[in-house]
Symmetry: C2
DNA sequence: GTCTATAAACAGATAGAC
DNA sequence: GTCTATCTGTTTATAGAC
């Protein structure tokens, strides 16, 4: 709290005036990240098309949102991995929909899940394990933008640079598309 | 330190007798995880074969090692994502090779990297971005076993159960194999 | 090696003036 | 809303007996 207060040019006490507890501040920040992930999907809903294309839009949207805000992926990853349940909402949300972290997350994931199920039902995608594929996709998308110096060392560019983000979009979209498509080309 | 001491049936002071600082204990535990990841690869080196098969063995080995030890993936993920550099070695390693965390990690990753480069050179794999593919793979493999209750809710089984681990192996191997293979089956 | 007691620093949070 | 000063519990770590 001291570090955050200093970073925003306040004393620790003043920060506590705006957020009653540390957990409340954490929950608020986390909620904003999730809200942006969800809103990105809504903006993207105007892209009807084949299932594979819509799934590509979902991936693009997630990557685009996480690439806009440097700490977002790290916060998400931590929240997803923490043993403690997600932070509760301790005070009024201003102008935003009041909704639990779990519910917001479920909405974002459900969009991906339904595309996956539809693709499998249509025979466009292989009959993969839904849960495992969601886990793989979350890991592939979120970890990269949370990986800091390690990631930068691996890809050779700053993670959040324009070229790196664009390449990431292409690489992940194509990788997942190929991982899912039901075509027989065994070597 | 208090919680750990209690868990192992010692007083906090006795724990400090064995590990001079908290950071030293953390570094020691992390080192053992990495050592096991590396050893798993060595045991696996007796599997010569096509590049795609060897890459499959690498994935199997990583998943097998992380599945053996519940906190391992969570520790790895945290270390990979932390802003702070990896913990230094503060005291003598007994019977183990003295090596920095960074170096051990690099060895494990380099094995994957060289398989990737070889596969691309041979035309077996698509010309993917090496760094991005490593990031995607680490995310896909490590996140799952660190995801706790969320992961269990998504896959419907306890993450570390035999059936879930076996399915995870199959799903991730096949997903990554298809993501990499250079075959033209565009829809 | 293990313990009890204690130090020293810190973090979350509050009181109350301005 | 912002601040200084303070409280209170926690945490890392040490001292020293057994």
């Amino acid at each position: 709290m001291r570090q955050i207060a200093t970073a925003v040019g306040l004393s620790k006490s003043s920060l506590f005036h705006h957020f009653p507890t540390k957990l409340a501040l954490y929950g608020e920040v986390l909620d904003r990240v999730l809200e942006r992930l969800e809103r990105g999907l809504c903006d993207d809903a105007q892209h009807p098309g084949k299932t594979a294309e819509q799934l590509g839009h979902w991936i693009d949207s997630m990557i685009g949102t996480l690439a806009e805000d440097v700490p977002a992926a790290r916060l998400m990853l931590r929240a997803l991995v923490d043993e403690e349940p997600f932070p509760p909402f301790e005070f009024e949300a201003e102008g935003r929909e009041l909704m639990s972290f779990e519910l917001r997350l479920e909405r974002v994931i459900d969009r991906f899940r339904s595309l996956l199920e539809q693709g499998i039902a249509d025979g466009v995608f292989r009959p993969v394990s839904i849960g495992d594929t969601i886990q793989t996709t979350i890991g592939a998308i979120v970890f990269h933008f949370a990986s800091g110096d390690l990631g930068e060392a691996l890809i050779g560019d700053p993670i959040f640079s324009g070229t790196a983000v664009e390449r990431r979009r292409r690489e992940v979209s194509e990788f997942i598309r190929r991982g899912l498509l039901a075509c027989n080309c065994d070597t």
